[in-house]
Amino acid sequence: MSTTPVDTWAVDLADVTFIYPWVGWEGVMAIVAIVLWILWHVWQCRFENNTYKEDIEKHATSENLRKATSGEI
């Protein structure tokens, strides 16, 4: 099942415009890409919040805070 607009190079190149597959589906591809972009931010925001939470739970002891601020770590 070919989806490319070019099925032969036996042509005058002056007549060739698009060379990528799925010509006519650009709007759908744009919507998919935009949705994926937004979902990435949602995931990243949650991931970052959880990372800070875990860091505080695991490492924020008074000894570690003292070492980190004094440059021992």
């Binding site: 060739v16 415009t17 698009f18 990528y20 650009e26 744009a30 972009w37 970052e48 875990e54």
Partner: protein, 456 residues
């Protein structure tokens, strides 16, 4: 490309912009080196990733809407024309599903031109990145990066860095190498964010006296700045149209002599901007060395500030003018940096607001006076360059499109507790967890190696 001359011209132009993109990558390498060098060891990897990830995020959003904004809003809209003024076919072609947003054999320029503008967008966002190190959340910074990289810089470029921009037409605004449209807006945005974000813990004493949070690696900082100088060549060259005929420009120019032009399609030469780039760099470094009394960081930053100050008019200045203007901008931005720090308790970790924001603003104002009366455009009816137009333009760049959106977005992020990292994490360092993991892994490997050695 059906004749040899047409083919050479087209491929030369395509290659010309492609080279600028490769060169401008070095700006980003430089910014990363510079920021990592300026941050403390406990924050290195976070600092690096915070900056690096603006590359994919600004790239995709520049594809989705940034490039379209540039072509949609030169008229305001509603000031000198509607959406797409003066030729709506461009805006239509550059929607995210537009016909010029994919490979086609009858359009060999759109892709490289899109990319050159994208690299400007990365630069604008990257300028803000350095100012906010060691306490901003990645999510927050990336939202700010998208705002300036794919929205506000694109609007300012449409208004003041387009051959039909309303600021050019009505104000006579002239900013050939982006003193305002990249640097002043980025400095203004950084200042707006910094005021909401607040200083790093320990930056100011209880009585308000600023403390130096010294760079972890001054060498890396300086080499990073050197790298930005290198990439700046690509930036300058990308601001030009390499060759244009009077027919192509379609303005008031008569005859058949072809020329390089600025983004406004006003004639200049590559030689002019090369001499002026170097002379303004020299003026900035000399002044930076003097005003900072030999401080390496401010001497290198002075070189950048010198170029940035002179950039608005470096298509037209005499090299002596570029030299002096670069020196003046550097002197003033240095003084302003410490005055703002002391007076308003603003912690600009790398001096980005000063080097880019103040120097860019000052450069626009100076260009308005020095270039007073020079035509801003090859088209009839456009205002000539003048002091008022460039001063108003500087306010629009730094305050209206820079400071205000930066402050508002930072306030929104702060409202949802998404702007600043937790206090404990800031004290521990953003890389504390991963550094502990790495330390544990190293100890395990060492123990395993010792065990193998003992049993062998």
């Amino acid at each position: 490309m059906d004749t040899d001359v047409a083919a050479i011209t087209t491929v030369f132009t395509e290659f010309y912009y492609w080279v600028t993109v490769a060169l401008m990558f070095l700006i980003h390498v430089g910014f990363c080196m510079y920021e990592v060098g300026a941050s403390r060891i406990k924050n290195h990897m976070h600092t690096l990733l915070k900056n690096s990830m603006l590359i994919p995020l600004v790239t995709i959003t520049w594809f989705f809407f940034g490039w379209w904004i540039y072509w949609a809003f030169p008229g305001g809209p509603g000031i000198t024309g509607g959406i797409g003024h003066p030729d709506p076919s461009f805006a239509e072609a550059y929607t995210p599903w537009g016909e010029s947003m994919g490979p086609r054999l009858d359009d060999r320029i759109s892709g490289v031109f899109w990319a050159a503008f994208l690299l400007f967008a990365w630069t604008a966002a990257s300028i803000v990145s350095g100012a906010v190190i060691e306490r901003i959340r990645k999510f927050a910074f990336w939202m700010i990066a998208i705002m300036i990289g794919s929205v506000t810089w694109s609007i300012d470029a449409a208004w003041g860095w387009h051959y039909s921009g309303w600021m050019v037409e009505l104000l006579g605004y002239h900013d050939a190498y982006a003193s305002g449209v990249i640097h002043a807006i980025a400095g203004g945005t950084a200042l707006g964010v910094l005021i909401v974000l607040g200083p790093r813990l320990g930056k100011f004493a209880a009585d308000g006296t600023p403390r130096d949070l010294l760079p972890h690696n001054p060498w890396l900082v300086c080499i990073g700045l050197f790298m930005i100088y290198t990439g700046f060549w690509g930036f300058y060259v990308a601001c030009n149209v390499p060759v244009a005929t009077p027919d192509f420009i379609a303005g008031q120019i008569t005859g058949t002599t072809q020329t390089a032009t600025t983004i406004y399609l006003t004639p200049t030469t590559l030689s002019a901007i090369t001499m002026n780039f170097l002379m303004s760099l020299a003026g900035g470094m000399l002044a930076g060395y003097m005003v900072s009394k030999g401080d390496a960081f401010w001497t290198y930053s002075g070189g950048l500030a010198g170029i940035i100050t002179a950039s608005a008019g470096n298509d037209l200045y005499h090299p002596y003018q570029a030299l002096i203007i670069g020196a003046i901008g550097t002197f003033l931005m240095y003084k302003l940096h410490y005055w703002v720090e002391r007076t308003f308790k603003v912690d600009d970790a790398v001096g980005a607001v000063a080097v880019h924001g103040y120097a860019g603003f000052i450069g626009l104002v100076i260009a308005g006076f020095v270039l007073w009366g020079h035509p801003s455009s090859p088209y009839e009816g456009f205002a000539a360059i003048n002091p008022v137009g460039n001063f108003v333009g500087a306010i629009i760049m730094f305050w209206v499109l820079g400071f205000i959106p930066g402050w508002i977005l930072a306030k929104i992020l702060q409202t949802f507790n998404l702007l600043r990292i937790p206090r404990e994490v800031e004290l521990l360092g953003l890389d504390f967890g991963s550094m502990q993991e790495a330390d544990r892994a190293r100890k395990e490997v060492t123990a395993a190696e010792l065990a193998a050695h003992s049993s062998g």
